[in-house]
């Protein structure tokens, strides 16, 4: 059986962590995989740390990524990187906000989608499912700006080597 892909998305409440994990889970769902997505929320919208797990593959059992087994760790806020680093497996990919060139985003709120663009370069989900999943989770007026954000993140990831966990 093909190995399950594990992705952890983390940041602070209000940054769009849960929206990003919804988009990723939906992209994998549209690509025909078994998917499980897990999140904890409640007090999280009051600015505290928040994280969400997405797992996809032929068959997924637990909805939670075991610590030290994440293939990709996507962190939307610099201060949250060290807190979440133990989730990464050896050789796993870390994607943080520092990946994007200064001022690359037209709208700062699209940071989550931009970094998903970077994530898309290391996962086996076809591009069309990414865009469909992103559109399905956003109001129509936001589609264009997020189109650009996704492209910016994707480009940044393809240009430089992504940080790998030792």
């Amino acid at each position: 059986m093909e190995k399950v892909k594990n992705i952890v998305i983390a940041g602070l409440g209000g940054q769009g962590v849960l929206t990003a994990s919804d988009m990723l889970a939906e992209a994998a769902f549209r690509a025909g995989f078994d998917v499980k997505k897990s999140e904890l929320h409640g007090m999280s919208q009051r600015g505290g740390s928040v994280s969400s797990d997405v797992r996809y593959g032929e068959q997924v059992l637990s909805p939670m990524v075991p610590a030290g087994e994440a293939d990709v760790l996507l962190v939307l806020e610099e201060t949250q990187i060290e807190i979440n680093r133990p989730m990464l497996r050896a050789g796993g990919v870390l994607i943080g906000p520092g990946l994007l060139p200064d001022g690359a985003l037209k709208n700062k709120k699209s940071l989550n989608v931009a970094l998903l663009g970077a994530v898309s370069t290391v996962l086996d989900i076809p591009q069309e499912h990414w865009m469909a999943a992103i559109y399905a989770n956003l109001a129509e007026k936001l589609h264009k700006v997020n189109d650009q954000a996704f492209a910016v993140g994707r480009e940044a990831a393809l240009e430089g080597p992504l940080a790998q966990h030792p």
Binding site: L12, G13, D22, A25, E26, F29, D34, V35, K36, K37, S38, E39, L40, H41, G42, M43, S44, Q45, R46, G47, G48, S49, V60, L61, S62, P63, M64, P66, A67, T79, Q80, E82, I83, P86
Partner: protein, 543 residues
């Protein structure tokens, strides 16, 4: 979302979709993480749902719906079942005509709760059949099944879900709407619904007979998943633990029990007989393992350290290995805080500056306990701020008693603060008392739900509105004052100090919409005003 196609749904959404497909006439409940989204989704899908003032009332309304012969769903978080416990224990004695399903959303690990109680104890204490889904597909299937069981045996059924089932999205293939759901109609069935001792005594016997029949059904055709693997290790699981265990020990034999009360003990006994080592993996208290041992099955449970918090694959691996060494401590994240611009900030600053002794309550404002405010001294359960504050007033020496303030939110006040005001008026402490309602116009903590004090229904359309100041005056509170926190002409600190100096009963309402809710509230108000204008016009035309 009503077609029978493959969908990616959270457990909460799956329960809502099943309720819709099962023909639920009315969904009731009180918002509480992680159960809140069930009724919101049910409403969004076109079902009829409403928020009740609290869980006790929600269950009572649902009982009425079921007595009328219609299907009904009532949702709450684990601690909400404590509030509803009084009607619960008698509801199981009654014969419900329409299906009645009670959702208890437990929160092991306390992602957003004040305790991690295991509501499987309620199954046993109240004798309520209980189903525990593993994922969203089972959340959907078991909701449907719960209605069937409820109607077949005329008994309320509990669906016990946990945070990771509620808030995980997994794939669901729905069955689609069922046909032939009964239309409501009232029939007098007094001995089955009036629990005076003369009728309750036979009702208890009836209940035990029902449970015996349900046990036999569970043994023969209950929702049990059995995988035969290595005979050296047999793992018995329930709920979310099942998937952790199947991932942690794919080679083992697994028995996952869907209906965990009443248990299919003979099925478990047969499974146990076929394996060398029998291990029960369950989240929370050792409920299942104790039941097995009581039945004479030699089962191994988890070490005590795993009673605390959630389980995951790594912890189940440790349980399998009998590893009781210290677990790695996860690095601390950033704690939540009161939003910038939140009106509660000013209140807690004033209370801190006045060196008040603050009896707090459950809601966003509980965050007033954290730095920089550190201005909350107690927090027990919904509504406890008033009772606890009064107790402090009664017992403390006068100089300290005079500094005691009870702080409660608007939604919480309606939920269970009203009786606290009755207590304050009836048994006023010698120094009087001050209760503050921090009215931000919404149930902020659970994600901005409406309540009877907002004047809007679950779907945000307008309805009657409770007046807190009117209630307090009618109940006989001596000083009732409202402060708009945006009003800079008066100092909140001065107002509090003045009320604390009086040996009288006082209610101070601070009012300012939650910063997160304010734009939405403006939107709802505008929509209501437009709709009202529309009605006037059409009425005028009709005249």
């Amino acid at each position: 979302m009503t077609s029978a196609e493959r969908q990616l749904l959270s457990g909460d959404d799956a329960v809502a979709l099943a309720a819709l497909h099962a023909g639920v006439r009315l969904g009731t409940g009180y918002p509480g993480t992680p159960s809140t989204e069930i009724l919101e989704t049910f409403d969004r899908l076109g079902g009829h749902a409403q928020w009740s003032p609290n869980e006790k009332v929600a269950l009572e309304v649902a009982l009425g719906v079921a007595f009328a012969g219609a299907r009904t769903l009532v949702t709450m978080k684990h601690v909400g079942l404590n509030v509803a416990a009084d009607p619960l224990f008698t509801a199981t004695y009654t014969d419900v005509e329409g299906g009645l399903v009670i959702v208890s959303a437990d929160d092991p690990g306390m992602a957003s709760s004040q305790n991690e109680q295991d509501n499987r104890h309620y199954s046993r204490a109240a004798a309520i059949p209980t189903l525990e889904p593993v994922d969203s597909q089972q959340a959907y299937d078991f909701t449907m099944l719960a209605f069937e069981i409820s109607e077949r045996w005329k008994i309320p059924v509990m669906l016990r879900i946990t945070t990771r089932v509620c808030h995980s999205k997994t794939i669901v293939i729905p069955r689609g709407p069922v046909s032939g759901v009964a239309e409501p109609a009232f029939e007098h069935k007094i001995p089955a619904r009036v629990m005076i001792p003369a009728y309750a005594k036979p009702a208890h016997h009836r209940l035990r007979t029902k449970l015996a029949e349900i046990t036999a059904w569970n043994e023969a055709e209950g929702p049990i998943q059995e995988t035969t693997g290595d005979a050296n290790l047999g793992v018995v699981t329930t709920g979310i633990s099942a998937v952790h265990a199947r991932e942690a020990a794919p080679e083992a034999s697994h028995l996952t029990i869907g209906m965990t009360y009443p248990l299919p003990m003979e099925r478990i006994r047969a499974f146990a007989a076929g394996v060398e080592r029998l291990l029960v993996v369950e989240e929370g208290d050792p409920v299942l393992v104790d039941d097995l041992r009581t039945a004479g099955i030699d089962a191994e449970g988890k070490p005590e350290m795993y009673r605390f918090g959630e389980l995951d694959v790594a912890r189940v691996r440790r349980i399998l290995a009998g590893d009781t060494s210290a677990e790695p401590v996860p690095p601390k994240g950033k704690p939540p805080e009161l939003c910038q611009g939140c009106a509660h900030r000013e209140v807690f600053q004033a209370l801190r500056d006045l060196d008040c002794i603050v009896a707090g309550d459950i809601g966003c404002y509980t965050l007033g306990v954290l730095p920089p405010f550190s201005a909350m001294d107690t927090c027990v359960c919904m509504g406890a701020s008033i009772g606890v504050g009064l107790g402090l007033r009664h017992a403390l020496p006068e100089d300290q008693a005079r500094r005691v303030v009870s702080v409660i939110g608007d939604s919480t006040f309606v939920h269970s603060g009203l009786t606290g005001i009755a207590e304050m008026v009836y048994n006023p402490p010698a120094t009087g008392h001050l209760v503050m309602i921090l009215d931000n116009g919404t149930t902020a903590m659970t994600g901005l739900q409406e309540h009877p004090g907002t004047g809007r229904l679950l779907d945000h359309s307008t309805t009657n509105k409770l007046s807190f100041e009117g209630i307090a005056r009618a109940m006989g509170v001596q000083n009732v004052q409202v402060v708009e926190t945006t009003d800079k002409s008066l100092s909140l600190k001065d107002v509090i100090a003045e009320l604390l100096a009086k040996p009288e009963t006082s209610l101070l309402i601070t009012r300012q919409p939650c910063v997160l809710a304010a734009p939405k509230i403006r939107f709802y108000d505008k929509a209501a005003a437009e709709s009202a204008r529309g009605h006037t016009c059409s009425a005028a035309v009709a005249d």
